[in-house]
Symmetry: C2
Subunit: 197 residues, 2 copies
DNA sequence: GGCGTTATTGAACGTTCGTCAATAGAGTGT
DNA sequence: ACACTCTATTGACGAACGTTCAATAACGCC
């Protein structure tokens, strides 16, 4: 009855399978609450194989976080266009919709990024930077955002505002609609930057 | 040469000693990067004693976080007064100064709260709520903040904005002065709430 | 159908968390 | 000073976990 037949996949397939499993388990709990035993059992492989592919548990965690971050960046790409405000609105709408759809997974990503070690935080930080840069690398944006240390500080804080607000809203919308939420986080940027001038 | 003489303290003293050690080690690294072995060795006690006082490593972590949160709340008490704006400014000034002084420890607290489990997060959440409530339980505040779901959402997001901005500033002030920082985070609240109306 | 490459295994090791009966320090009464 | 009690404290033990590595077997190729 014990299915002792080992299934041999190509490295790419196996890696893919393990990463997807990681994302799935990630959604429910922090990764260091899950033992390698449980991971390998759930994947139907031996403990050793996980080490063969990711070197260590930490390596596995980093790979999964990297994958989640890439997903986020890919699925929230703003449309091509010249109007900074429109781009911002589109980008935030995509972001909000992504968080709504991947609610649990996204929360885990943020938690992992916050609580993880230096390497994990760096991965998330890079994704964040990519998203911000991409939105603001638009001709004509200088009129809205003059590049000063103060503005950079405020924009970074604004990102924290957006993340926290959207996640809180996901837990309990409390009557606030999706469109209102998008409006709130979009309007917040000019409002904050305005006070900084 | 081995000082095998065990020192017997009163439960309160021992508890205090261990909590202070926890705060000290906390500042440098996350608590689950430190083994009970190292903790007990540094405290000059046996492993068993730590379990006697805190039940588990998780229990110890929670106690330390609770202590850190209490410190934060205690040291940022706003002055008695009726003017909401003045109270807000005073409270934020105290908060900024606290973070400046306890930079590392405070960062660890926030990281522990973000990355920790449900119980740890709840402890920090309570402290946060206490600080917010205390600032806004002022006669006449209704003129500034009408209590709607939308406002609550924004105020919560604003707290995230403040935390992130102050911590980022601590890492690299980039020419922004302390007073400017206080001004930024203070002005941010009316700016954000204004857009929500 | 045999062969070589390499994906995969499982047992073994060191470390860390957590438990518990045994031990000894400090106050108390005589 | 001494014995006695209470309980703070210990240290050895077991289970669980991360990690390593030589052995194994599945698949593509000739």
């Amino acid at each position: 009855m014990t299915a002792t037949t080992r299934t041999r996949l190509s490295p790419d397939e196996r890696r893919e399978q393990l990463l997807e499993l990681g994302l799935r388990l990630f959604a429910g709990s922090s990764i260091d609450e899950i033992s390698i035993d449980r991971l390998s059992e759930e994947a139907g492989i031996s403990r050793g194989l996980l080490y063969h592919y990711f070197g260590s548990k930490q390596g596995f965690r980093e790979a999964v976080v990297q994958r989640a971050a890439d997903d986020l960046v890919a699925q929230t790409a703003p449309p091509e266009g010249d109007d900074p405000i429109a781009k911002l609105l589109a980008s935030l709408t995509a972001y909000v919709d992504y968080v709504i759809a991947n609610h649990q997974g996204y929360r885990s990503l943020v938690l992992a990024a916050a609580g993880g070690n230096e390497a994990v935080r760096a991965i998330y930080e890079r994704a964040r930077t990519r998203m911000i840069d991409r939105t603001f690398e638009t001709p004509g944006v200088e009129a809205l955002l003059v590049d000063t240390p103060r503005t950079r500080l405020v924009v970074r804080g604004w990102v924290a505002f957006v993340e926290d607000t959207v996640l809180t809203w996901c837990d309990d919308a409390n009557g606030v609609t999706r469109d209102e939420l998008v409006q709130i986080v979009t309007d917040a940027l000019p409002a904050l930057v305005g006070t900084a001038d």
